[in-house]
Symmetry: D2
Subunit: 345 residues, 4 copies
């Protein structure tokens, strides 16, 4: 295959991010854009020099494409993945794979039946820092892992659908906790999650989703991981992972204050510093090449390679499903106020 | 009162720490030492130029004293506090106040009946860093607090009784979580804790106590706090507090890597760097004047002032009781695998 | 001597700081205040519940005192120290001791002739962090020291006299470099400074003093130290010391970002955070108990003890003179554009 | 041009680094390797699956190539660059360009005469962090720059020729200071360096080169930069840049302790953590994807693009010459003990 032709489904923040990435990858081109509303799709498409469509009918009448990249609200993933599979298109789907494990299972089954390449679009798998952490753990540098902690926080998404449970499927746990859980599953090295104890709360935002969650996951063999996911975390994006083993520990922080470049600006600046930055003067912390550091480049590069070579991605819908199973258990635990088993969908 | 005369009960690490502190406080003197075994008591007393006793009978036949400082295993606090109260002695008792709220209630009642000054020996109340954090929150610098996190961790105590539930009463949650809970109670500003969801686990050490705990506490009004307490935390003492409010956040870390002095030693060094330091070469992080920074000086100074002036300490057994009530609920939650209400003893 | 009675000379920032410190030291009282102008002296004295004077005549007619604490502009240190010595008063003089080594020598000789206790008011000698660093070096933790670096910077003093060479005697090097040089002299362990290569520049402020300086000092035996002193250092107080030895290194930073408490405030706050803080929202870094951490308490406590016991302070005018000798050489080097020898005054 | 064919001259640490980079760049291949000694060249070539040569004669008889990448000792750069130009080969030359400005000028003239693409192999120009810092300064985020500081330090090179002035041309200033000076020249935005005040010293290593240097550079218009370059800097690679402007400051640190991943290993580990790491247990700090972060990938990618498109690299021998001119002045200053003018070669 000379070139992998991608259709992007979605016109939000993440779609924009990914078009930038695709444009840097040799042998890949974005050939189509599908939005949910005509106006927004056209504005977005114009910005990227593409034509906009708003339905699969239109999409299929347009230029040929090999794969879709689903960047739509969580609650729409299933429907579009099933359609894509039906048309024999390869699929990468932004995290979380679905709003429930049942949906994720349908998506996985459909993709497998269709024989298309299916990739779970979880950038943490591909971020260089996390690959390094996985390598450290696998080599035994910190001994046998006993307890893991992962936190992602910021002050809430910019896009309204995140706060609408019908479209989002869940709040901060589904949105951000899914990153941490995916990493935990890797670190657990194949041991499955057994049960979850979780508390979710809506402390500040006007939403039917939780804006804070803390979940404790027990893995087979005794390893414990706890996830903190917050939409009320002031001071910019916070991302922290800590792993305690019986012979050492790893601590990782890519929050603002941990960036190697630190800037003090006496006057207001309107320069971009980082995703979810909350201040524009005083101490500011640029995140350099976010899209490389966060793993987007390597993720999409890998997806394109898998399509070219017909191999299974490092992270398929199966990995996405495993994350949804844990999140289902977490929500069940939170509702019941007690431990809930992780059930295979 | 010209001078406050103290009898120390206990001969462990903390007793040693406190004698050093008393020696620097004007108008205070340590006049007696009581240990659990003759040999150890005498060795310890000799080191400090004092006479050793091993029973209250002996103690009361010795030099007159005004107050006892209880530095014994948690499970012996109650018995010695009751005896001290009966003899009209003022009391400061090392944290946690007791192994259960029922014990703590007995101690409080006895002290109140006896009319003695009773101080909860929780150094975090007095540590300058925590006083600053309390002041920041009270002034509204971060808006309304929504969620708090506190962690204390190291790789386990040096003294055997900590691992014996009969003497210790509990594991890392009782031993270290009590610090965090005391601070949370202050930060909650009078709002009581309502219920607790907790998971405890014994992941590494040979003990009938937990070596890891994570507890989520809900306060009246909606504030949430979560406590991490670990005896399997490699890399030296870890103490972290984070407070997220609707208009800001506070993060505090006094773990090794956050010390302002950082030392690289190419060769092994036998110099003392800090309590619970685990390495002796490479990167090392001295904690300067631990005993001041951790609040011991101010705590004992305050206790002595209260005795002189007959006023109630900033932290009495009542505050210690409130901590034990939460820990009781945490252990109940962990046993039941679900939320447990905080019950007033 | 039951109580040490202090007369403060000066009504600026540092005088205020020191009155706060004296008030906490048992056995010391501030009994008099002398200012340069009636109005300011009275305003300042009223704030502290004292009477104000503006001349030595008035001062000597007032309540009896044992010692003066000179907190006046650098260019007035000599005159007041000589007067104090003539009247048999003990003296502590704020850093730098004088504007030149010749002046410092006069002050030292006068104090010695008068037989009074004379203390060089350099708080870095007494700051716990620096005592720890000295201890590390002396114990050989980093091997033989080869090169030292010290930096102090902020965006310039708040008081006008600092920018007037007639009163200040020099700029950032004299004002802030003197701290670093005092520490270097201690670290050099008795080896004298031999020569200095220095560049000074006035890059921003409207002053006949330098607002930036970099000086390289060679000590007997080969140890090198370089000093950076800047009044154009945005982002709050910066204080850094690094020592490289043949078997290790020490790095110390007490600048804003290195504080253990870090605060993000979404809204403007008018709370005090630290000396020379330059921002009031976004990321803010409180310095806890500055006056203890910076060594003021220990310095003044030590001075009072020396007066009571008639012993020589840890740092006398002799240490201040040694600093002035190096600064004289630095200014000579900067003027000549080449190395200048350190000459004994 | 379908593919850029590279001959690597040199078989040291940096040659190895660059082969790894070339292997990841599409459209580039390494086709030949030239070493200084037969044995080492063959061992090195075998490792990379290539044939080894030890002379230009041999090299020219081998497979055709378009460009050379000079990774030889500094003192051999000139000779090989002249030969390459004579044969019409494009050239990238590792930093520093030459041992003196006179040599650098010869190289520049030869390359220009030959009409080949010539690139100054200074990775700092291409490192993402430094591109970000340049962007911040150019946009005025910190106002007008007044003073810059740059430090690079480690405990000395691993390869013997660095310590032999005949081959190396100079010590830590030439080896490491050249990085900082290149960045300063960019930050000065076209204003030339006017004069230099420098002190060099050999404090520890057995070498006729300096193992420590501090140089102050004055740029036209008043901007000052000071460079610290040390081979006696324990604790692993230290790289720090600070820029103070009249409206803000930037501080950058990519030393060990500033890495986002921090590892505590209780036992010795033999895993690779970073270039020049000095410890193998306790606190360890992996540098993730050094070769990307340090700019090597972007540098060599850019060089290949310039060859393909026939455009001048972002950094040519002209930029390398400007650095050598400043270093010449620095050595002259150090020898004379006074300011030395920067002379155009």
């Amino acid at each position: 295959m000379a070139e992998v032709r991608i259709a992007i489904l979605g016109t939000g923040f993440i779609a924009d991010f990914r078009i930038q990435a695709y444009n840097k990858i040799p042998g890949v081109s974005v050939v189509a854009l599908m939005g949910r509303t005509r106006e927004r799709a056209e504005e977005f498409a114009r910005r990227h020099g593409l034509a906009a469509v708003t339905s699969w009918d239109e999409l299929l009448r347009g230029p040929a494409f090999d794969a879709v990249d689903i960047c739509l609200p969580n609650g729409l993933h299933r429907e579009h993945a099933l359609t894509a599979a039906r048309h024999g298109k390869h699929i990468i789907c932004a995290k979380p794979l679905a709003t429930t494990a049942a949906e994720a299972r349908e998506m996985l089954d459909a993709a497998e039946r269709a024989g298309v390449v299916h990739c779970y679009g979880e950038n943490w798998y591909f971020a260089p820092d996390f690959r390094e952490i996985l390598d450290l753990v696998r080599r035994g540098t910190v001994g046998r892992p006993l307890w893991m902690r992962g936190r992602e926080g910021h002050f809430g998404p910019h896009t309204p659908w995140f706060f609408d449970k019908r479209l989002a499927g869940g709040g901060s746990l589904l949105d951000m906790g899914c990153h941490v859980i995916a990493l935990f599953n890797e670190l657990a090295g194949g041991a499955g999650a057994e049960d979850v104890l979780c508390h979710t709360a809506t402390l500040h935002h006007d939403t039917d989703c939780e804006d804070n969650a803390l979940a404790i996951i027990r893995y087979r063999g005794g390893l414990v991981g706890h996830v903190e996911a917050s939409w009320t975390s002031r001071g910019g994006m916070q991302a922290v992972v800590e792993i305690w083993g019986d012979e050492g520990m790893i601590t990782y922080d890519r929050s603002q204050l941990s960036q190697p470049i630190k800037v003090f600006a006496n006057r207001r600046t309107d320069r971009y510093f980082a995703e979810k930055a909350e201040s524009d003067r005083g101490w500011l912390f640029p995140v350099v090449e976010e899209f490389w550091r966060y793993g987007y480049y390597d993720e999409l590069h890998h997806f394109a390679e898998c399509i070219k070579t017909g191999t299974a991605p490092r992270a398929t819908f199966r990995e996405g499903l495993a994350v949804n199973e844990i999140i289902d258990a977490a929500y069940a635990s939170s509702a019941a106020g007690r431990w809930a088993p992780v059930q295979r969908a």
